[in-house]
Symmetry: C2
Subunit: 232 residues, 2 copies
Amino acid sequence: MQTFYDQQYSFRSPVTSADRVLVAVQKAIVEGDIAAGSKISEAGLAKQFNVSRAPLREALARLERCHLVERTPNAGARVVTLTYKSLIALYQIREELEGLACRLAAEQMADDEIEALSKLLEQHLENQRVREGESYYQEAGDVDFHYRIILASKNQYLINMLCDELYFLVRMYRVQLGMNGPRVSRAFDEHKAIITAIANRDGELADLLMRRHISASRKNIETKLQAHKEVS
Amino acid sequence: MQTFYDQQYSFRSPVTSADRVLVAVQKAIVEGDIAAGSKISEAGLAKQFNVSRAPLREALARLERCHLVERTPNAGARVVTLTYKSLIALYQIREELEGLACRLAAEQMADDEIEALSKLLEQHLENQRVREGESYYQEAGDVDFHYRIILASKNQYLINMLCDELYFLVRMYRVQLGMNGPRVSRAFDEHKAIITAIANRDGELADLLMRRHISASRKNIETKLQAHKEVS
DNA sequence: AACCTTTTTATTGTCGACAATTAAAGCTCC
DNA sequence: GGAGCTTTAATTGTCGACAATAAAAAGGTT
């Protein structure tokens, strides 16, 4: 299943070898294959991907940009660690920016775009029925949904910030802390309500609903993070 | 006058030569010494700063990060051009994010920090009286003010996005399109009202006032941009 | 044995050269 | 003379090696 969000960097296909490495390392960090908090060796990763250090450093710079690694001069890069504080900070920003995106989308989306988004949601519903309980496809669907609305805002900076700089971190929290149980179906309903508001060209309501949707999602992850902390 | 905003990259002093080049080129672009829309030659700039292309490319990557240049694979980097559309997009985001920053600051700033910020504003007022009509110091003061509030939000991502990724572009609009006339003194009054709201721990009002402040600033630049376009 | 200093090692930052790609110039053909 | 193709030139992407810095190990002192 080729999902929308598999691409990055404003949705260009990887042309340079730095792009390829970036995509691979992004995926590895998001999915936890490279442990959170671990140090990244430039020479090591370069060897692993059969490239020189130059393109790898370019990739590292972009990984820093999407907040997946933290670099300190002359000391190298470390994979970020997921914390409660970071989660709150991230979702505070998402509420504001995706709320704005939703409002702009309600004002600017073409009728057929709204129709297409509505159909996409129906597709996700099918998938959910078929794969009850399996969380990954739902996450992909959720990300797809948010991506579409962000793109519909037509705000260049907003698209860049959310899709390129913030969403990999969001996915990292989701993949590593999961989304499942009753939250999945509730998220669907919230998506549907948001689309309805957009279809009615009610930007204010769409904004509000998106903020609540994100807030609910945050609370869900918060509890998982809490449970996760208590175990370890 | 050493101003607060002269530093960058989360306020670390430039240690590597890529840092030095970055600061210099940032300044050159913001102040229009490197023309908007012009192509950047890696070899040329590298020679100009007496460094090799490696640190210069690192600097370019960060310039792209703060939206001062746009890079396309195998085609190089171009300095961004200031447009009406871009201005609107930028300020839409600023309203949301700085509004949030203001709300968080109202909740979290220590009493002595508020006191210090209030005193900073008095200092700016002195400066304004002395240098009536000269816009640069006012801008520096304005940027100082916004920086303080953003930092007070204590939200790591918010600080990074606003101070590292967006504010150079904001400064570019200000420096090249200027802020002067009655807007200067009005901005002072708005700053004062915002501090008062923060001192009263009224986050909601502080949020609202900051949004209006930014909106007013946008309208001011809009008219300048309009006039500028009509001339050229 | 713990602490500080010095030496060693490893890692990051920088350089110059080469390969790959794109943009420009020149040529051919209509 | 202009459109399309070919060749040339210029620019970007990548590589391996060296220099500079920081972390680790060894040594000495109290």
